[in-house]
């Protein structure tokens, strides 16, 4: 008998604009997490960075490598930062967080972002062996009303 997987854990539609979206009290009963976000800028038109924080950690424990296409050129970069997604008008991103409840390894994630100016892949690493119990996304421009967040657990 196949094991049911891709279990929905929670979802939310923002009723007010917010600078931070926080996912807390994450169940520890799965192997991986998949987080799906749709959003847009609540004002303005300039793309803004979205910084991630696991377990509330905003210290210098993150690094990432990014590849992107912007409709004309392709590029890539790597930095020791928490900018694992970007927000623009009509944005979605899907983040796969691997082995999030393990306590013997640093955590890695793959984020695929789509919006009106980029298709972007970011591979990120959080240098902590702590099990992930919360994830937050923070943008300098608020996430608009109507933004959606869904989180799923993938069974081993």
């Amino acid at each position: 008998m196949p094991t049911p997987t891709y279990t929905p854990l929670a979802n939310l539609t923002l009723s007010v604009a917010a600078g931070t979206i926080a996912i807390t009290d994450i169940s520890q009963g799965y192997r991986d997490l998949i987080i799906v976000v749709t959003s847009k800028l609540s004002s303005g038109s300039s793309q803004t960075n979205v910084n991630i924080a696991f377990n509330g950690d905003t210290a210098s424990n993150y690094e990432r490598t990014t590849l992107f296409g912007d409709g004309t050129t392709t590029g890539g970069s790597n930095n020791a930062d928490r900018t694992w997604a970007v927000l623009n008008n009509n944005t979605n991103w899907v983040m796969d967080v691997f082995d999030y409840s393990a306590t013997d390894k640093a955590k890695t994630a793959l984020t695929r972002t789509s919006n009106s100016v980029q298709r972007r892949y970011t591979i990120g690493r959080w240098n902590s062996t702590a099990a992930i119990t919360s994830v937050s996304f923070t943008s300098s421009t608020t996430f608009a009303i109507g933004s959606t967040v869904a989180i799923y657990g993938v069974s081993a």
Binding site: I26, V36, K40, G69, D70, N90, V94, R112, A150
Partner: protein
């Protein structure tokens, strides 16, 4: 089971298929295409929501194994069907995510696709798509460019990812 099959079709010999009366109880839609063209040239294919023919934009990120490219356009582009001249048994394999399809924001899609012909061609294509449609998606049309028809071996499946609660808190 949280990824539910809405419908799967074999559109061989036709130019388009339409999934209508899409349930409004899900969080996301996932469109899976294993496709070949009925024509001898590589054929783009597209999505269209609710019968709306305008308001679509996309940009791509593609690698051929030796070069990377990026382009943009104003259609519901989601991938390329491999031509009928490619080796039998080779396909484009495309997964398109349409998140929050019942939401109030402009609809978006993300498409990841490969097209291959054994060792002679291998493309990876990723697409970010936007639509100005803010209404819930109730129907979805998948169609090939121009008068191209889908090869008889093509399979197009639409899935719905259901939402749920109880495993985390979002605020």
């Amino acid at each position: 089971m949280t990824m539910e099959l809405i419908s799967s079709v074999n559109p061989g010999g036709v130019n388009s298929v339409t999934f209508s009366s899409i349930p409004q109880t899900g969080a996301d839609l996932i469109l899976m295409v294993t496709g070949r063209s009925g024509d001898s040239t590589t054929s783009p294919f597209y999505v269209e929501f609710n019968g709306v023919t305008t308001g679509y934009t996309y940009l791509t990120f593609k690698t051929t194994g030796s070069t990377e490219q990026s382009s943009s356009g104003t259609t519901g582009y989601i991938g390329n069907l491999v031509p009928s001249t490619y080796t039998i048994g080779t396909f484009c394999n495309t997964q398109t995510l349409i998140p929050a399809y019942t939401g109030s924001l402009g609809k978006t899609w993300s498409s990841d696709s490969v097209q291959e012909n054994n060792a002679t061609a291998s493309d990876v294509l990723s697409i970010a798509g936007n639509s100005t449609l803010t209404a819930a998606i109730t129907s979805l049309r998948v169609f090939a460019g121009g008068t191209t028809v889908f090869h008889s071996a093509t399979i197009i499946s639409l899935y719905m990812v259901t939402a749920g609660t109880g495993g985390a808190t979002i605020s």
